[in-house]
């Protein structure tokens, strides 16, 4: 979560965006994930960033092929098919056909599920 902070006139008219921790729920973004992993493994950020792109690309490709992505200890991603259906447009009342489509589904792994139980 980013907050807009405007400094008083004396310091300058610049508007800064500060990341505020603990004020609201922060969201981990792609760059935070890359920073964390590159620090942890002492690798170049560039390589880690490329690696993440490859990982996400490979996962997307597999899901597009209807394959299940199973990551032990984290969870799994799978596709589910929604049937085609006829429905009415609520505004105009015109009947229309919604074609069959696929949705993505994420299932938590057992260990992730257990670590989210609060004492």
């Amino acid at each position: 979560m980013y907050a807009k902070v405007v400094l008083p006139m004396g310091i300058g008219k610049t508007t800064f965006f500060y990341r505020i921790e603990g004020w609201m729920v922060t969201t981990m973004l792609k760059k935070d994930l890359i920073n964390k992993v590159s620090e942890e493994l002492v690798l170049q950020k560039q390589d880690v960033s490329l690696a993440l792109d490859i990982i996400l690309e490979t996962m997307g490709e597999a899901l597009a092929e209807n394959r299940r992505v199973e990551l032990r200890g984290f969870g799994s991603f799978s596709t589910r098919t929604r049937k085609a259906r006829n429905t009415k447009n609520p505004r105009t009342g015109v009947m229309m056909n919604i074609p069959e489509r696929k949705t993505l589904h994420f299932t938590m792994s057992k260990s992730l599920k257990e670590s989210l139980i609060h004492q």
Binding site: V25, T26, T27, M28, L29, K30, L33, K36, V37, E40, L41, L43, D47, V48, L50, A51, L52, I54, I55, L56, T58, M59, G60, A62, L63, A64, E65, N66, R67, R68, V69, E70, L71, R72, G73, F74, G75, S76, F77, T79, R101, K102, T103, L104, H105, F106, M108, L112, S115, L116, I117, H118, Q119
Partner: protein
């Protein structure tokens, strides 16, 4: 289903093939990514990955459950659940 699942090993192989890094380093990278995502979610912080999707946490209230085999009543503790919302780009890709 004839198609096999995609696992961590496949992801590490893909990274190794495309980046030319050592295979062990690549599997470390893959593990580190999912481990840090897991610890972030465990700390109650949502994750947003552009062009892929967001992982958010949903609170579940404690409730009384029943063991279906013995009929015993037990308290199911307060917990959180991870829900994943795929990004528009990923949804479109899957529906191509």
């Amino acid at each position: 289903m004839a198609k096999s699942n995609l696992t961590r090993k496949d992801l590490a192989d893909a990274v190794a093939d495309q980046l030319g890094l050592a295979r062990t380093t690549c599997s470390d990278i893959v593990d580190a990514f999912f481990d840090s995502m897991k610890s972030t979610l465990t700390n109650g912080e949502p994750i947003k990955i552009v062009h892929f999707g967001t992982f958010t946490l949903r609170d579940k209230n404690p409730r009384n459950g029943r063991n279906p085999r013995t009929g015993e009543s037990i308290l199911i503790k307060k917990r959180q659940m991870v829900s994943f919302k795929p990004s528009k780009k990923l949804r479109e890709r899957v529906n191509e």
